[in-house]
């Protein structure tokens, strides 16, 4: 009867919807709790987070989803409630995040140093100079007529923020600086930026973790010219997203993960990472250092650079879990 063809059509529609739903279901993890972590590219590209993820997921029934973006974007994600936790390395931006009320329970996890890397020939002759002086020399050389002498991240990442603060401290006006012909704004992640700097034979500011990996893998030939200076300190923190503001975020999961990163086991993973391959830790654990003051000079540098009002997280930005701050 004519009803038959209509029945066939209805069946077909149901079949289509069913298979789409089944596929979506199959592709998505069913029972596991999900934690969305927005992280800076330097932590992700080096592979540290993969190592952390393996160990963490073995212990906890939480599925870690890392979204690798620049610090600026990670904070934006969090502000919209699209992430549960952020791992970033830009204290000024982090403070803003806390004061806006979106971030709570900030903890410092690890640190390393930025370095100014560049071509072996070092045309601006900055080897072993102080960071601010090095930048000045590069600017002079650039203005002298060298094309493409400095590559900037240009992506509002933590590294970019650091770079900008250095230029400002050296007395340069950022708005005019970025327009000069020798200053290249890459708009890309750390790895990509390193490759561009290498390609142009230019200098750039890089975190040691990413630099070591890329150098070791033979992807770049730039060398470290300025390092280990107070001005180049790079501190990584974890901040949870405020559940009061965004009820749907996985706050407890975020704290669990944060605690893991702060635990001995987590800190051990961080310390071990890269030691075999690169001969040194790419990221240095900070928890024990800060708690027990094992290296006072280093601890002081971190406190000067990355603490707010004498603490890593002022009281008004803490929420539950007081054990985090014993």
């Amino acid at each position: 009867m004519r009803k038959t063809s209509l029945i066939w059509v209805a069946l077909l529609v149901i079949a289509v919807i069913a298979s789409v739903a089944a596929t979506a279901y199959y592709l998505s993890p069913s029972t596991e709790e999900r934690l969305i972590v927005s992280t800076t590219t330097s932590l992700y590209d080096t592979g540290l987070l993969d190592a952390v993820e393996t160990e963490f997921e073995a212990k906890y029934p939480i599925d870690l989803n890392f979204i690798s973006v620049g610090t600026g974007i990670a904070i934006q994600h969090a502000q919209r409630g699209d992430a549960d936790l952020i791992l970033v390395h830009s204290p000024p931006d982090e403070l803003g995040f806390l004061t806006a009320g979106t971030g709570v329970n900030r903890k410092i996890i690890a640190y390393n140093f930025f370095a100014i890397v560049g071509p072996e020939e070092d045309p601006a002759q900055i080897r072993n100079t102080e960071p601010l002086q090095a930048l000045t020399k590069i600017a002079e050389r650039g203005r002298d007529g060298t094309d493409k002498l400095w590559v900037s991240r240009g992506d509002n990442s933590g590294t970019h923020t650091k770079e900008k603060s250095l230029w400002t401290s050296a007395g340069f006006n950022l708005t005019t600086l970025t327009k000069e012909s020798w200053y290249v704004s890459a708009g890309s992640g750390m790895g990509e930026t390193l490759k561009k700097a290498d390609y142009f034979g230019a200098y750039t500011l890089a975190d040691m973790g990413t630099y070591l990996k890329y150098k070791n893998d033979g992807l770049i030939s730039s060398v470290v010219l300025v390092e280990q200076a107070k001005d180049l300190l790079n501190v990584y923190s974890a901040i949870a997203v405020n559940q009061t503001l965004h009820p749907n975020v996985n706050f407890d999961g975020a704290i669990t993960f944060m605690k893991f990163l702060l635990s001995d086991e987590g800190q051990q993973i961080i310390e071990q990472f890269g030691k075999d391959e690169y001969g040194q830790s790419l990221f240095i654990p900070a928890v024990r250092l800060l708690k027990e003051n094992t290296d006072p000079t280093m601890a002081q540098m971190i406190k000067d650079y990355a603490f707010f009002n004498g603490t890593e997280c002022p009281q008004e930005y803490r929420k539950g879990y007081p054990e985090l701050y014993d």
Partner: protein, 353 residues
């Protein structure tokens, strides 16, 4: 006799164009009814309305006693079926084409197989089930379309110019099939055609359609043999002239068709008349001829139509005449469009309509 379809004052317009104007018609069950008329006279439109695939602009249609409207139009579609002038086939096998309508009606596979075999036999296409319908010849395709329609055993079968674009061999197969079906199943058939001779052989009644109106309804005898101005203007679209006739002393009349054209006819009639001349009665020459014929005109050939053994020429001699000559003569005389020619015909060749 039971009326199976009835049309009361129906009209159909497509936008500004009126295709059918105030048509009144009754179709009786079991008859073969022809709609005769030139292209554009509304035959196809009327047929489509009967098939339930065209709506009325005004008027009422009754099918099997019930008034037809949106609620029961599907009923009409199931009880009638139409074979289109331009063969329409689905892009599948012959079998699937024919099975389509049967499946809609819920027949079992066995019944369908059986039926298809039957109808393919009727149209002399046995064994064609698996063939790709669109790959058949024109005539075979039309026969498949016919078989498809016959398979449905509808009360009414509608055919739009069923043999118009078909070669002679297929024409006779189709006509035999139609004849057989009408006799065997008493299927009512409505056939639209512009071919007078087909109308004559197959049908019980004819309706003459001109310009969207029914000019006349009757038996083939009445329509085709009797005098009729309508028939003339349809059937002999060529060489029909109207004018004022004056009787002459010698027993002929002269008809003033317009200012410059006068035709002398061997008849006695005064007043307004309509006359015609058969194309084959006109003699064509390249020079004037002196003869007993009363009518002579000079003109130029404006159109040539090749019909194989005969050639029809349209000649502009202030009025347009259609002249028919043999192919042989045409070739020998070396005529072209634009050639100046002379037309001659006798007064006795002029007939009253």
């Amino acid at each position: 006799m039971k009326t199976i379809m009835e049309f009361e004052n129906i009209s159909k317009a497509y936008g500004d164009v009126a295709a059918l104007k105030q048509v009144n018609l009754q179709i009786f069950e079991g008859e073969v009814f022809s709609l005769l008329g030139p292209n554009g006279s509304g035959k196809t439109t009327l047929l489509r309305i009967m098939a339930g695939i065209e709506t009325l602009t005004s008027g009422e249609m009754h099918f099997d006693g019930a008034k037809v409207d949106e609620s029961n139009i599907n009923d009409v579609r199931l009880k009638t079926t139409m074979v289109f002038q331009k063969t329409a086939l689905f892009s599948t096998s012959v079998y699937k084409n024919i099975a389509y309508g049967l499946r809609l009606r819920g027949h079992s596979k066995k019944e369908i197989d059986q039926k298809i075999k039957e109808v393919l036999k009727t149209v002399k296409l046995e064994g064609y089930e698996k063939r790709s319908a669109k790959k058949l010849s024109g005539g075979e395709q039309q026969r498949v379309a016919l078989a498809r329609a016959l398979a449905l055993d509808t009360q009414v079968l509608l055919l739009d110019e069923p043999t118009a674009n078909v070669d002679p061999k297929n024409v006779s197969i189709i006509e035999d099939a139609l004849s057989w079906v009408n006799k065997e199943n008493k299927t009512t058939m409505v056939i639209a055609t512009h071919n007078m001779f087909q109308a004559e052989t197959l049908t019980n009644r004819i309706a003459l359609l001109l310009g969207g109106r029914i000019a006349q309804i009757g038996t083939p005898q009445e329509i085709l043999r009797g005098p009729s101005i309508n028939l003339a203007s349809f059937a002999r679209l060529e060489n029909v002239f109207s004018g004022n006739s004056k009787i002459l002393q010698e027993g002929t009349s002269v008809i003033e068709v317009d200012d410059e054209v006068e035709i002398e006819a061997a008849l006695r009639k005064a007043g307004k008349v309509t006359v015609f001349v058969r194309p084959e009665d006109i003699i064509l020459s390249k020079k004037t001829i002196a003869s007993s014929a009363r009518n002579g005109f000079k003109g130029k050939i404006v159109e040539i139509s090749d019909f194989g053994p005969v050639v029809k020429l349209r000649v502009n001699a202030r009025k347009e005449f259609v002249v028919q000559i043999t192919k042989r003569s045409f070739v020998e005389m070396q005529l072209n469009v634009g050639s100046t020619v002379f037309l001659t015909f006798k007064a006795s060749s002029v007939h009253l309509v």
